[in-house]
Each structure stands twice: as structure tokens, then as C-alpha cells.
């Protein structure tokens, strides 16, 4: 373990036992996280990407001491998340996405005051600190209003202010931009970006690839509880830049047609994206291969709309990583 690192996870595992039935109880064990290892340098903004149920939140909950790992170890700023619980808690901030997690009947300012007390913020500094954070997250003028009247974006910004009250060195942001409108999300990204500028270490989970691409220094992709790729956004894009991407708009494409397209020589993978009435086939193929006509022919009678070729994006890399094997 390296105490110079902000976060270090080694072989983290977490399984859950669930029971169903009353008279005939059956026991089921689910492995949510299976031996995850990664680290965050101090001052780094690290993204943890993965589909729902991949183990992102479980991993974060272990790092913030709310869950005990079943196996493996993790340290935050050199403190063990199992043995040095209070030391870890003093030094971290935790923010999650969504509407909940605030005291609705209290004003934004009182929410922040309460958590200032819980984090032991110096009473002489409390007022100024709250004002500073209210300004940082753009809630100046609204801080005396009850949270129950706040929009989702305002709540999310208040969550971030709460997470920063005690000036933590490491901030865990679990899907902070979920459900926020584009303007709010942009403001939130600017706020998150500014955290690194003031020396914070941030672990961010998000579903939005452009967000990860714009913000993160490094990214780990987690799938079914395992990290399947790790690197800079450029590194991950390179996983698919050995090829190109063909987008084919279709209407009513059947699974056998997708399988036929996948079998075309030169095609590395096909993913179907539902867009309203359309199904868009995202076909990744080897550079230099001429697959367009063959793929279209393999679709048979399927009604085809617009067809276009483009360079791969981080989202393509992500989809490839979470749906199929990583190319060697």
C-alpha cells in the first residue's frame, strides 16, 4: 500500500446474501464486486464507468466506510477503510445523485449548518464557509429557501456544497449529474472541474461518456463487478480506434439480422441502440475493411434509413467494453 496515493483499492470484493420466501427460505449470494483494484493519485479526477448493477456504488460505499469489503483492502489517504473509519470519514466528502438525501423542511443554509456541525467545522469559520460554498455552487440568494422547493439541479449543487463543507481532500461523486437538465449539467461539470483546480481528488461515477471524457484524467470501466479496462480517455478510445464505426438506422431489425451483421468478415462488434421507432446498429469494423455493402446485404429485408461512418468515440469504447470482450 502506498500512503502517497489518495485512494488505493486492492482486490476489493463484496458479496451480498439475500433470502426469499417465508416458509421455504432460499438463500442466494450475489457477488457485486469481484476483486477490484485501482488507485487515485492525489489531485486526480478519476472516473468509474459501468452500466447499472456493475458495482460502482458498492465500490464507493466500501471506500467511504458504509460497507465492509468481503475481501481485499482499501485505503484512503493512507487510512484503512475498515480499521481507521473515523480518520477516513474526516477526510472525505460523499455526494450522490438524485432528488433525495437532503432535509426537505430545512433551508439550504440550515442543511449546510447541520452538516457543518456533524463534520466539526470550526463554528467561527462556519458562516463564512457556508457563504463561500453557496457562492461556489451558484445558490447565492436562494440559501434561505426550503429545499422542498428546489429543482433537481439546485439540489445537486447543494449536495456538492454539503460534500465540501469540511474541505475534504477526497470527494466521491456517485452519478452527480443524473437527471439534471443540460444547462444544469454543464454548470455542474464546471463545478466538478474546478474542484481539481483547488487540489481535490475526485472519484466520479457517471453514465455520461462526454462528461467522463471532458472531466476525467483517467477512467476505469467496471462490468459485472470487475474492472475490464483502465486508462486515460484517449487510451480507452484507442481500444476501438484500430477500427471505425458504421451507424445504420433501421426499423424493426430482428436479432438474427444483427447476428448476421456481426458475422460479416471485418466486423468487430454490433450494438443495437433503440432511438424511438428506430434501432440504430452501431457496427465497429477493422480499419481499411470495406464492410458497408456486405453488412447492409446481411440485414436482408430490414427497412434501412440513413447510413454513416465515423470515428469511434469514448462511448463506443465503453459500449464495447461493457458488452463484449476487450480486443487484445
Amino acid at each position: 500500500m502506498n500512503s502517497d496515493l489518495a485512494v488505493e483499492a486492492v482486490g476489493l470484493e463484496r458479496s451480498f446474501v439475500t433470502h426469499t420466501g417465508v416458509l421455504r427460505r432460499s438463500r442466494k449470494e450475489v457477488e457485486a464486486v469481484k476483486g477490484v483494484s485501482f488507485h487515485l493519485e492525489r489531485g486526480e479526477l478519476f472516473g468509474l464507468l459501468g452500466p447499472n448493477g456493475a458495482g460502482k456504488t458498492t465500490t464507493i460505499k466500501m471506500l467511504i466506510t458504509l460497507l465492509l469489503p468481503t475481501a481485499g483492502t482499501a485505503r484512503v489517504l493512507g487510512y484503512d477503510v475498515v480499521d481507521d473509519v473515523r480518520e477516513v470519514r474526516r477526510r472525505i466528502g460523499y455526494v450522490f445523485g438524485g432528488d433525495r438525501g437532503l432535509y426537505e423542511r430545512l433551508s439550504a443554509r440550515d442543511n449546510l449548518r447541520y452538516f457543518s456541525e456533524l463534520y466539526g467545522v470550526d463554528p467561527r469559520r462556519q458562516k463564512a464557509r457556508i457563504e463561500e460554498l453557496v457562492e461556489l455552487v451558484g445558490l447565492t440568494g436562494r440559501e434561505h429557501e426550503r429545499v422542498e422547493g428546489f429543482s433537481r439541479g439546485m439540489r445537486q449543487r447543494l449536495h456538492i456544497a454539503r460534500g465540501l463543507l469540511h474541505d475534504p481532500d477526497v470527494l466521491f461523486l456517485d452519478e452527480p449529474s443524473i437527471g439534471i437538465d443540460p444547462v444544469g449539467a454543464r454548470e455542474l461539470r464546471a463545478t466538478i472541474g474546478s474542484l481539481v483546480d483547488v487540489g481535490k481528488t475526485v472519484l466520479l461515477t457517471t453514465h455520461y461518456m462526454f462528461e467522463a471524457d471532458e472531466l476525467c484524467d483517467r477512467i476505469a470501466v467496471i462490468r459485472s463487478g470487475e474492472i475490464v479496462a483502465e486508462g486515460t480517455p484517449q487510451d480507452l478510445k484507442r481500444l476501438v480506434t484500430a477500427g471505425r464505426v458504421l451507424e445504420i438506422e433501421t426499423y424493426g431489425v430482428a436479432p438474427d439480422a444483427v447476428a448476421a451483421a456481426t458475422g460479416v468478415p471485418g466486423v468487430q462488434g454490433v450494438v443495437v441502440e433503440e432511438r424511438g421507432q428506430q434501432q440504430v446498429l452501431i457496427v465497429q469494423f477493422e480499419a481499411g475493411a470495406e464492410v458497408t455493402q456486405t453488412v447492409l446485404a446481411s440485414l436482408g429485408d430490414v427497412h434501412v434509413g440513413r447510413v454513416s461512418a465515423r470515428e469511434p468515440t469514448l462511448e463506443d469504447a465503453y459500449i464495447q467494453l461493457v458488452t463484449q470482450d476487450v480486443p487484445g
Binding site: L66, L67, L68, R100, D110, Y114, E117, Y119, P123
Partner: protein, 261 residues
């Protein structure tokens, strides 16, 4: 210093944040009208049955109703955190748990005291109850002790809310138990021995008995044993509550029970 602030300031803010009866539209019917109705109901049942006197029912039911805020508000200050998804955030803070949770009890005790005293005053105004002026300070004290003791039980209930979501259902059951077993409307001497024995291990029982004696003109010295026993019962529940909070918090880390129904 931090723990002291968490106890006093944090406790009050948490109470304001979590106890949803603070709106006058809910508070007055729940904590003023309902206890008066309960007092009137049992006083008139007693009158029509020719059993007991108004003072017996007024004091018993007024103190019994202190259990509503003591049980439900205390349960809400912990269970409500779970509903509002703030519990995980609170538990992820380094705040010491004893001041964090005990601080929430202070406003609840004051609330329970207020509810019981409104009931006693209403009984004095509406029914045939005469309490000597000199007895009031000691009665105020007895009601504080009974509210604090009952809040200890509320803390234990709140701790259970860390594990199960149905703390309000549990509160209703416990309220009924207190109504039956604590000598609220039937004196302990008239209850079957096993019920009276259970009553002696519940909060309110000794407080109600002490308040009745005080209202009848006894001095504080005559009821100090009862008040000490009431305090002792309350302390037992408080210690059990804090131990349960510790246990269920550790359990939530082991089994992710905060995320389950």
C-alpha cells in the same frame, strides 16, 4: 466542543428537519386535540361506570399521550433519515454517535412534556380536577422525568428503525402497550399480577403514579423513590437504544441492511 454542539445544536436542527408534525395543521390536531379527546373519553367512561375520579384519568391519559412525541418523534428522527436517504450521509460523517442521537432526544423530551402538560391543563379546565398550586412545580418535574424516560424507549425504537422500516407500526403497538400496562386507566393494583409486573419495567408507570400522588397533595419527598425508578427505567431503555444503534450500524456495514426493506 464538537460533541457538545452536535448534542445541542445538531439535536435541535435534526428535530426540526425530521419531525413532520411541526406544521400547525398537523401538530394541533395530533398533539392537542387528540390527547384532550382521549382524556375526555376515559374520564366519562369512568364517570358512567362509577369508577375512579377525573383526576385519575386526566393525569394517566395526559402522561400517556406524552408517549406520542416521545416514541414517534424519536423514531422519526432516525427512521425518517432512512426514508429521506439522509441516513447514509449522516453515518458517513465522523460525528460521535452518542451526542448525535442523544441530542435528538432533548427537543423530543420537551415536546412530550408540553403535550402532557396541555392535557393536564385541559383536564383541570374541562373536568372536575383540582390540583393545589403548591403541587404544580413538582408535577412539572414528574412529567419531565416521565417524558425523558419514555424518550429512552423511543430511542430504542428509533434504533430498530435502522434495521426495519416499519417503525411507525411498532410505535402504535408500543403506545397501546403503555396504555394498557402502565396504570393509565386501570390502577396497577387492579391489573393481573403479571401485567402489573410488566408495567413496572415500562416507562411512564412510576411517573404517572408519582404525578397522581403529587396532585393529591403529597410532597416531592414522598415520590422521590418513584421518580428515581422512572429515571432508572428510562436509563435502561436509553442504554439499550444506544447499544442497538451501535449494533445495527455495524450490521448495516456488514450486511448492507440500510439498503434493504
Amino acid at each position: 466542543m464538537t460533541s457538545v454542539r452536535i448534542f445541542f445544536i445538531g439535536g435541535l436542527m435534526s428535530y426540526r428537519a425530521m419531525f413532520n408534525w411541526l406544521s400547525p395543521w398537523i401538530l394541533i390536531p395530533s398533539l392537542v386535540v387528540s390527547p384532550i379527546c382521549q382524556i375526555l373519553l376515559f374520564a366519562y367512561i369512568g364517570r358512567s361506570a362509577g369508577v375512579g375520579n377525573d383526576e385519575f384519568y386526566v393525569i394517566g391519559n395526559a402522561l400517556n399521550y406524552a408517549a406520542i412525541p416521545c416514541l414517534f418523534a424519536m423514531g422519526a428522527t432516525i427512521g425518517g433519515e432512512r426514508e429521506g436517504h439522509t441516513l447514509g450521509i449522516v453515518l458517513a460523517t465522523p460525528a460521535r454517535r452518542i451526542p448525535l442521537f442523544l441530542g435528538r432526544a432533548l427537543p423530543v423530551i420537551a415536546n412530550g412534556w408540553g403535550v402532557a402538560m396541555v392535557g393536564v391543563l385541559a383536564g383541570v379546565l374541562l373536568l372536575d380536577v383540582h390540583i393545589p398550586g403548591s403541587a404544580w412545580p413538582a408535577i412539572l418535574l414528574a412529567v419531565v422525568v416521565a417524558s425523558a424516560s419514555c424518550t429512552g424507549l423511543g430511542l430504542a425504537m428509533g434504533a430498530v428503525a435502522l434495521r426495519v422500516r416499519e417503525s411507525a407500526v411498532l410505535g402504535n403497538v408500543v403506545f397501546c402497550l403503555l396504555l394498557v400496562f402502565c396504570g393509565v386507566n386501570v390502577a396497577l393494583d387492579d391489573l393481573p399480577a403479571w401485567m402489573a409486573a410488566v408495567g413496572t419495567w415500562l416507562p411512564l408507570t412510576h411517573g404517572i403514579e408519582a404525578a397522581r400522588l403529587l396532585a393529591d397533595g403529597s410532597g416531592l419527598g414522598a415520590v422521590d423513590g418513584l421518580l428515581l425508578r422512572e429515571i432508572g427505567v428510562g436509563l435502561i431503555y436509553t442504554v439499550v437504544g444506544l447499544a442497538l444503534l451501535r449494533f445495527f450500524e455495524d450490521e448495516s456495514r456488514r450486511s448492507a441492511s440500510l439498503d434493504r426493506n
